[in-house]
Structure formats: structure tokens, C-alpha cells
């Protein structure tokens, strides 16, 4: 598509989202004063606002564009992605939400250090937060390039650069407090941007005497193809998404912004509702795309389905307006997820790297770290090949599931966890995940058992990391931290009780 009249709705939409994001971020600045505001919005965000912000931050390019594209390509087995991303919040709710908030730490490395009293565990966690954060940021930037090319005909490099600059402007100026308002706005923007076009398209479809989608090629089977290995891939995906959510750096940071453990639980419940509402929509685009735009799957542009379907199905002005709307939603998706991830990575970098410098104050160190956190993945996104938005995000989930999930589970529920056990488990989980990711990136055409095991590694890496953590902890039983019992009191007792929380 050449830039021209077609590009108008896309340009208007992207300009609107960019200006609105910066304006709300600036407005939020009035409330942002201290270092605590920067990192955790001073922990005073109401559950409803906080839940909208979590939803806004969590629904990334993979949710907005990737799911519909994958469903168009592969059919019902790809529905496990949105199901897993929602169920992950249920797992997080029942096992982690309230204790994590009560731990009173800023970031995952803070939690690890407070629980285990060890600088070594902290260092391992910091490396992993940065690795997972960048792995997750990469597809966001690449998706932004794709969106701009599809909507406006801009060169692919322009998207990552615009997203990078807007995120930096917001993160460095207002930190967590102003971002909370931005993210909450962007959840509702994204929902509207999918809901309204989907409703119009369904009306068009019904007026077209509702042609059914062809079920050929196992399109309605909720299982990956390939018999037993397909079953393995599906279950491994379930494990990665169900358990990985709790270990994502930008998800965890959000819990520290709740006033107390009870609010953390209620926030998570509202998030479940918001996510469930949103994820009803992408499969609609996938199914309609199967009927009206099968050529997108053939030409390898399935990730652009959501952006192009309105124009394909609806002519004239209405089609243009709907295209503008989905473009705005997609752009909001990149901005919000990238902002959240950048804050999480910058938070860790500023505490463990830039904050060490004597000459930088808390806020200056955070700003410098934010520049690093955004620039590195942005440059890599411009150079690296495109993995497919949802698949790259899937690998980030697998890595989070194999590292932070065992650490959080054992740290919260088992007093016997030792620093040695934690480090051993993190190293095993991190290295096996890294090997699997390298294999997946290196192998062009996955086929057979080895590629299935490497392409969806969570089913073996998670148990391996968990077993390592437990067995090494049992071997080093003498080094259980002296304050372990006191820390469990802090994690599990309601804040209303007057107890010594260490």
C-alpha cells in the first residue's frame, strides 16, 4: 500500500493516541513528586483504577494483533494463548497476589533479597528481570513497525522509534504515578477499539447471510497438530502461560502499587473480569478473517489481520473510520505494554546499576536507566528478524515460568528455601530457557519431537527448575535464613493485626 489518502485514518489515529498518552502522562505529573511516586505510585491506587491500569499494561501487541493472526493461521488451538494469559492471573491471584504485596518490596529482586537475605540471589533476579523484560519488549517494538507499515505505509523502522520516544518521554517525566492514569485510559481505548469494529463486522457478516468458516485442516480442533507431540505442545503452552504470568516483571511491579494485601486480591479479581471481556474479541477477528481474508494467511501477513479486516469487509467512510479505530488500539497496545516493561526494567537497572553511582540521585538514576531500558531492545528490534509477535511473547512467558514462578511459589509457601537453592534453580531455569530460545530462533522450519520440546520448553524446564530449587535447598538446610519464619508472618497475616513483621 502506498502512503496517500488511505493513510489518513491511520495517521489521525496514531497522532491521537500519541497526544492523548503524553497529555494524560503530563496531567498525572501533578501527582508525581517523590521517588516512591516514581516506582510504585506511592502505593495508593484504588483497585478499580489499578485493575484498569494492569489490564491496559498487560494487553500487548500479542493480544491485540497476534492472537487474531494466529487463530486465522492455525485455528482453535491458538485460543490457548488468551485463555492462558487470563488463567495466569487466576494462578497469580490464588498463590501470589496478597503475599507479594505484603512483602513490601519494590521489585522482584527486592522480594528475593528480603526473603532470602542474599545479594547473590538479588543479582541473579536482576539479570533475569532485564532478560525477560527485553525479550518481551522486542516483539512490541517490531509490532509497532508492522502496524505503521500496514496502516500508513511508513518504513518499518519508524514504528519502533516513535514508540520508543513516547515511552521514554512518559516514563522519564512521570514514572509510575502518571503511567497509572495512562495505562487505565489505554485499557478502555483498546477494548473500544476492538469492540466497536467487531460489532459492525458481525452485523455485516449477518447481513451477508452468515457464511460459516470452513473447518478444514483441523481448524476447529483446540490442539496443536501432530498427534502426541501436538498434545505436548498444547500442554506445554498451558504451563508456560498459566505459570509465567506471575513471573513477568511488569505484572509484578503493579502489585506493589496496591494499598494492602486485600486490595491486591480484589484488584486481581477485577483484572480477571477485564481480561475475560477483552479476550472474547480477538477470536472474532480470527474467524471472520478465515471467511473474508484468507489471503492474509497465505501471504504471511496474518499479524496485520485486525488492522486490515475492517477495510476488506466495509467500504467507504465507515471502513476508514473503523480502520482508524483499530490502528489507535494497536498503537495503544504497544505504548502501554512497552511503558510498563520499561518501568520494570528501569526500576531494576536503576537500583542495581545506575543507582550505585554516588553522583546520581534516585530520580536521575531512574531516568538514565529508562533510557538504557528502552534503547537496547529498540535497536535490537530494528536489526533482528521478526519471530512473530505472539510466539516471541510466548518464549518470554516460558522463561518467566521457569525462573520466577518457582522462586515466588517456594519463597511464599515454603520456609525451607535457601539462597543456594534459589540461585541454583534460577540458573537451571534461565539457562535451559535460553538454550531453547536460541534453538527456536536458529531452526527455521520446526518439525518433530526435539523442535517441539525446544519450541515449547515450559513443560520440562519448569519442573526441572522447581526440583533443583527444592533439592539444593534440602542439601543446604543449614543456611535457611534466620528470619524466614518472621517473613512468612509478614507475607500471610492480614495488615489489620498488630504483629512484629520484621
Amino acid at each position: 500500500m502506498s502512503p496517500g489518502l488511505d493513510a489518513a485514518p491511520g495517521i489521525v489515529a496514531i497522532a491521537f493516541v500519541t497526544v492523548a498518552t503524553l497529555a494524560i502522562g503530563t496531567w498525572g505529573l501533578r501527582f508525581s513528586r517523590t521517588t516512591s511516586d516514581f516506582f510504585v505510585a506511592s502505593r495508593s491506587v484504588h483497585p478499580r483504577l489499578n485493575a484498569s491500569a494492569i489490564g491496559g499494561e498487560y494487553l500487548s501487541a500479542a493480544s491485540f494483533l497476534g492472537v487474531a493472526g494466529l487463530v486465522l493461521l492455525n485455528g482453535a488451538d491458538m485460543l490457548w494463548y488468551p485463555v492462558g494469559w487470563t488463567a495466569g492471573y487466576l494462578v497469580l491471584l490464588v498463590l501470589v497476589a496478597a503475599p507479594l504485596r505484603r512483602s513490601g518490596a519494590y521489585t522482584l529482586p527486592d522480594f528475593a533479597e528480603a526473603r532470602l537475605g542474599s545479594r547473590g540471589v538479588r543479582a541473579a533476579c536482576s539479570v533475569l528481570v532485564v532478560a525477560i523484560g527485553w525479550l518481551y519488549l522486542l516483539p512490541q517494538f517490531q509490532g509497532a513497525g508492522l502496524t505503521l507499515r500496514s496502516a500508513v505505509g511508513a518504513p518499518t523502522w519508524l514504528g519502533p522509534v516513535i514508540v520508543g520516544v513516547v515511552v521514554l518521554a512518559n516514563v522519564t517525566s512521570g514514572g509510575m504515578r502518571s503511567i497509572t492514569f495512562v495505562q487505565a485510559f489505554q485499557y478502555w481505548l483498546k477494548l473500544t477499539a476492538l469492540l466497536v469494529p467487531a460489532a459492525v463486522l458481525l452485523v455485516v457478516w449477518a447481513g451477508d447471510s452468515s457464511p460459516p468458516a470452513s473447518g478444514a485442516g483441523g481448524w476447529s480442533v483446540p490442539l496443536a497438530s501432530g498427534g502426541p507431540s501436538g498434545l505436548y505442545v498444547t500442554y506445554s503452552l498451558i504451563i508456560a502461560t498459566f505459570l509465567g504470568t506471575m513471573g513477568l516483571p511488569h505484572v509484578v511491579v503493579r502489585f506493589y502499587t496496591n494499598p494492602d494485601g486485600r486490595a491486591a486480591r480484589r484488584t486481581t479479581l477485577v483484572v480477571l473480569v477485564l481480561l475475560g471481556l477483552f479476550y472474547l474479541l480477538p477470536p472474532v477477528y480470527g474467524a471472520l478473517g478465515r471467511i473474508y481474508a484468507p489471503e492474509l494467511a497465505v501471504s504471511g501477513r496474518s499479524d496485520a489481520l485486525v488492522l486490515e479486516l475492517p477495510r476488506i469487509m466495509v467500504d467507504g467512510l465507515l471502513g476508514e473510520v473503523l480502520t482508524g479505530l483499530v490502528t489507535a488500539g494497536a498503537f495503544a497496545a504497544f505504548l502501554s505494554t512497552s511503558s510498563g516493561l520499561s518501568i520494570a526494567v528501569a526500576g531494576v537497572l536503576s537500583q542495581d546499576v545506575t543507582g550505585r553511582s554516588r553522583r546520581l540521585g534516585g530520580v536521575a538514576a531512574f531516568r538514565l536507566a529508562a533510557v538504557v531500558a528502552v534503547t537496547v531492545p529498540c535497536v535490537v528490534a530494528l536489526l533482528a528478524p521478526n519471530l512473530g509477535v505472539a510466539r516471541a511473547v510466548g518464549l518470554a512467558f516460558a522463561m518467566a515460568a521457569a525462573t520466577f514462578c518457582p522462586l515466588l511459589l517456594l519463597g511464599i509457601w515454603w520456609r525451607g528455601l535457601t539462597p543456594y537453592g534459589a540461585v541454583a534453580g534460577l540458573v537451571v531455569g534461565g539457562l535451559t530457557s535460553a538454550v531453547a530460545i536460541a534453538w527456536t530462533v536458529g531452526v527455521a522450519d520446526p518439525d518433530g519431537w526435539v523442535d517441539a520440546l525446544m519450541g515449547q520448553p515450559a513443560a520440562w524446564t519448569v519442573p526441572l527448575a522447581l526440583a533443583t530449587m527444592v533439592s539444593v535447598s534440602l542439601l543446604t538446610r543449614d543456611s535457611v535464613p534466620a528470619h524466614a519464619d518472621r517473613f512468612l508472618v509478614r507475607l500471610h497475616t492480614p495488615e489489620t493485626l498488630e504483629l512484629d513483621r520484621g
Partner: protein, 122 residues
């Protein structure tokens, strides 16, 4: 013995015992405090595992069911293939329902624990 004995105010025995704060057992790390804490942890963990088990035995068994009975994918309910209806729509209210039930129970467990700690001993 020239000094007069110190004057003492005579009162009856206290009618009410001051409440014994069991929280002090937890703070002091006594065996009793350990018992209280372990009971809270056990209740909350049992609840969490129960919720996860329900999820695992319903949503988690779907891939296996579709693997063992391939005919299920051809079934259409309300004009939708069964797999689509389950994974695209029905899963979400089920997850929200489980989450809601969990939050209610977890808060009740915490209330019970708080009452246990502030109960007066008789």
C-alpha cells in the same frame, strides 16, 4: 521498725481478665505461635490448591479430551464448534467465578485468624 507500713489500696480481684494477646506468641516465636501460623498457611494453601485443582480438572483436561475423542471437534453447539465455544467464550466466566470464590474464602480465612488471635481466654 519505726517507719509506718506503707499504705496499700485494697481492691477485689479483677472481675475481667485482660484479653490475652495471642499475637505475642507469634511475635515471640513460641511453639504455640508456630502452630497458629502453620494453621493459617495450611488453610490458605489448601484453598489455593483446591481452586487450582478445579481449574486443572476442567479447563486443564480439555486438550486430553479432544486428543482422546477427536469426534468432539466436529460437535457444534449453538452454531459454534464445541472447541470454540469452550475456549473462546465459556472459559472466561468460569475463571472469574473461581477467582471470586477464592477471594471470598481467603478473606474469611483471614478474618477467622484475626478473631482467633484476639479472642479472650476464659
Amino acid at each position: 521498725m519505726t517507719d509506718p507500713p506503707e499504705r496499700v489500696r485494697v481492691t477485689g480481684p479483677p472481675r475481667r481478665q485482660p484479653p490475652v494477646r495471642r499475637a505475642s506468641d507469634i511475635d515471640a516465636g513460641t511453639n504455640l505461635g508456630g502452630v497458629y501460623m502453620r494453621s493459617l498457611l495450611r488453610e490458605q494453601l489448601r484453598l489455593a490448591i483446591g481452586v487450582l485443582a478445579v481449574m486443572g480438572l476442567t479447563i486443564g483436561l480439555l486438550p486430553l479430551a479432544f486428543h482422546l475423542a477427536p469426534g468432539l471437534s466436529g460437535v457444534r453447539v449453538l452454531g459454534m464448534p464445541l472447541g470454540w465455544l469452550l475456549l473462546g467464550v465459556l472459559v472466561y466466566p468460569a475463571l472469574v467465578g473461581l477467582g471470586w470464590a477464592y477471594v471470598r474464602r481467603a478473606e474469611r480465612n483471614e478474618r477467622d485468624f484475626a478473631e482467633l488471635l484476639s479472642e479472650t481466654e476464659r
